[in-house]
């Protein structure tokens, strides 16, 4: 369904992501872990086609190479990225953005779900870190993407909300997920289908949930560029 083939991502000619390969099947949940600066967020943005990164290799979505498409074209095909730090969109309230999205894509958004109904009339510029993440989740859930990349969705969220988010992710059987984090403990409960470790721009190890426990106990230093 979703396949990354020999993908390299360059920022100012510097290779940040190095020949990454990753296959995600329909409805699977993958967790991508790695230390700060390992290239996880760059990979996420390259999947969405933002930041104007130069790329080499392929991003296959249902057999089509989307690596040269604009972000909006990727979004329309069913790719979603929840931003690690969404920028402030001044003057565009949550209500307005969601109503634009729902009229454009005939989708429904439920602001009750994460208890952000009362901030619906405001824009995100003065949202707390947690509110920003909930806003991302509400958009993600409403858009019903086929593949969703959630970049550090756990940061800033309180434990109850995170539990709720995890539950929701498990319920969304039609959506495949790539969950990016550098904290491993919180993601064990979700029982991911696959776990990948990214160090220095490369995915150096892919396995099942046990890999999370290993990272948990021994840290990323244990990998030393190989599995």
């Amino acid at each position: 369904m979703f396949e990354i083939k020999d993908l390299s991502v360059f920022s100012d000619d510097k290779e940040i992501v190095k020949k990454v390969n990753l296959t995600v099947k329909k409805g699977e949940v993958h967790v991508l872990v790695g230390p700060n600066g390992s290239g996880k967020s760059t990979l996420a943005r390259a999947i969405m086609g933002i930041n104007g990164f130069k790329t080499k290799g392929k991003i296959l979505f249902k057999g089509e190479d989307i690596s040269k498409l604009s972000p909006e074209e990727r979004a329309k095909r069913g790719v979603f990225l929840a931003f690690q730090q969404p920028p402030s969109i001044e003057g565009v309230s949550m209500r307005m953005l969601l109503s634009e999205l729902s009229s454009k894509f005939k989708k429904k958004f439920d602001t009750e779900e994460f208890g952000v109904d009362e901030i619906r009339g405001r824009d995100n510029s003065d949202f707390s870190g947690g509110e920003k993440k909930k806003y991302e989740l509400i958009q993600m859930i409403g858009m019903e993407p086929e593949i969703a990349v959630l970049d550090e969705i756990d940061s800033g969220m309180d434990i109850d909300s995170l539990e709720k988010a995890m539950k929701k992710i498990k319920q969304m059987k039609k959506t495949a997920f790539i969950l990016i984090t550098h904290r491993t403990k919180k993601f064990k409960n979700i029982q991911p289908d696959k776990v990948h470790v990214m160090v220095n721009g490369k995915i150096i190890c892919s396995s099942n949930v046990k890999l999370l426990e290993r990272v948990d106990k021994k840290g990323f230093g244990d990998f030393n560029d190989k599995c």
Binding site: M48, G49, I50, N51, G52, S70, P71, E72, R74, A75, K76, F80, L81, F83, P86, P87, S88, I89, E90, G91, V92, M96, L97, E100, L101, K104, F105, D123, Q139, M143
Partner: protein, 430 residues
């Protein structure tokens, strides 16, 4: 050019008006063009200044293309939704006016200015009193040749709780429009007046010189909203002034979205102690447009407050400029003045300048001004595009968001219309 004495006679005007027109025309010929602002390039001899027209009593008599414009704006719809009044000015006559009876029953006067001049002798104490006929070249031109416009007078203590609306349309080629509007809010009264302006595409190069005089008596409140969407041939030179009594509050809200050139700087004289003015403006300029807007506040009374806030957006080769002036007289102890102008440039060729000026003869005051010029952040564009909006749609959302702090004070139906105009100017079809 034109015989104003003859024109005045045809219109059966009182002598004070005929005399005023004659001396205004004389002043116009003597006064120089303004020494600031955009280049105007007006051929005064080629303009058609006045064409009398029959009054039309119902919307059905309005020419079809005008009706279509009104329909597009949903104006008849508005009316169903409790509108205080609409009057439409086609070229230079007020052609349609429909005012809810209950407003007039409160003693409110809403009258086409052409009629009002014949009807109310006291009008001579207001007409051209805030904007003297010889104030500047266009004030003189306007006062010599004005026709159309509206008189609104709210009696003491009366609150008109739904906006009074008028609509100006330009139709024939080369016809200029010089409507004169006067709003008098007597002590403790409250009113919101909205004027909209529009012209279809076929207009060649008309001149619009509208004058607005607002008298806000003690403790009265007035909001004066203008939605200007002239086509990109119109030269729009509006002079707007208000004078405030004790504790009076004035709010100017101007959305300048059209015209080839606009010069608009509403001036407020804060005469009464504790009076307040808010001067809010948004402008959007595309193509080769030059929108030169801002505001002036003259503090005379004690503890008076002024806020002049501009938000402007320019795309393509357009130019948006801000001119703000706060003048504080000696007696205005404890007054506060604040000016802020933010501009957003959507292209490399778009331009923006700010000309703020503060003059104070009193030391016990708080005065400040700020100006920023920005561009749309790539990160914001990326974010919206990642949600499936095209680049143009994302820009439109961000532009609307930029203007939102000012547009939020405009009634919903008009805010929607502003959005539609902006989208059209940004090349988006909804």
């Amino acid at each position: 050019m034109i015989n104003v004495e003859e024109m005045s006679k045809q219109r059966k005007e009182p002598k004070w008006m005929t005399d005023l027109r004659i001396k205004s025309l004389k002043a116009f010929k003597q006064l120089p063009d303004p020494n600031f602002g955009p280049e105007l390039d007006i051929d005064y001899d080629k303009m058609i200044y006045y064409s009398p027209q029959e009054e039309i009593k119902s919307l059905k008599q309005v020419p079809k293309e005008m009706r279509d414009t009104l329909d597009k704006l949903g104006l008849p719809e508005f009316e169903k939704k409790r509108l205080a009044g609409i009057s439409v000015q086609l070229d230079s006559s007020v052609i349609y006016e429909d005012v809810l009876k209950k407003i007039r029953d409160k003693g409110v006067i809403i009258e086409p200015m052409d009629k009002a001049v014949r009807k109310y002798d006291w009008l001579k104490d207001y007409f051209a009193k805030l904007i003297p006929y010889n104030d500047h070249k266009f004030a003189a031109l306007h006062t010599a040749l004005w026709s159309g416009g509206v008189l609104v007078r709210i009696p003491k203590g009366v609150t008109v709780d739904i906006p009074i609306q008028t609509f100006f349309l330009l139709k024939e080629n080369r016809i200029s429009q010089f409507e004169h509007t006067i709003v008098i809010a007597e002590k403790g009264s409250k009113v919101h007046y909205i004027e909209g302006c529009s012209a279809p595409q076929f207009i060649q190069k008309p001149l619009h010189v509208g004058n607005v005089e607002v008298f806000v008596e003690d403790n009265a409140k007035v909001q004066f909203t203008t939605i200007q969407n002239w086509t990109d041939k119109v030269i729009n030179l509006a002079t707007k002034r208000a004078i405030l009594g004790k504790g009076a509050e004035m709010k100017w809200l101007s959305a300048s979205l059209g015209s080839k050139t606009t010069m608009l700087y509403p001036t407020t004289i804060l005469k009464g102690d504790d009076s307040k003015v808010e001067n809010l403006a948004v402008s959007f300029a595309n193509g080769e447009k030059v929108l030169d807007t801002g505001g002036r506040a003259i503090h005379i009374g004690k503890r008076t407050t002024s806020r002049i806030i501009n938000r402007s957006v320019a795309s393509e080769n357009a130019e948006v400029n801000f001119r703000g002036k706060i003048i504080v007289n000696k007696g205005a102890t404890g007054s506060k003045g604040y000016m802020k102008c933010d501009s957003l440039l959507l292209s490399d060729n778009a331009k923006s300048e700010a000309y703020p000026s503060i003059k104070s003869s009193n030391k016990e005051v708080e005065l400040a001004h700020e100006a920023t010029v920005g561009r749309i952040g790539k990160d914001k564009l990326d974010y919206l595009r990642s949600r499936g909006f095209s680049e143009d749609e994302s820009i439109s959302l961000l532009v609307n968001g930029f203007m939102e702090p000012i547009v939020r004070d405009i009634p919903f139906e008009y805010a929607i219309e502003i959005r539609r105009i902006l989208d059209m100017n940004l090349g988006i079809n909804n």
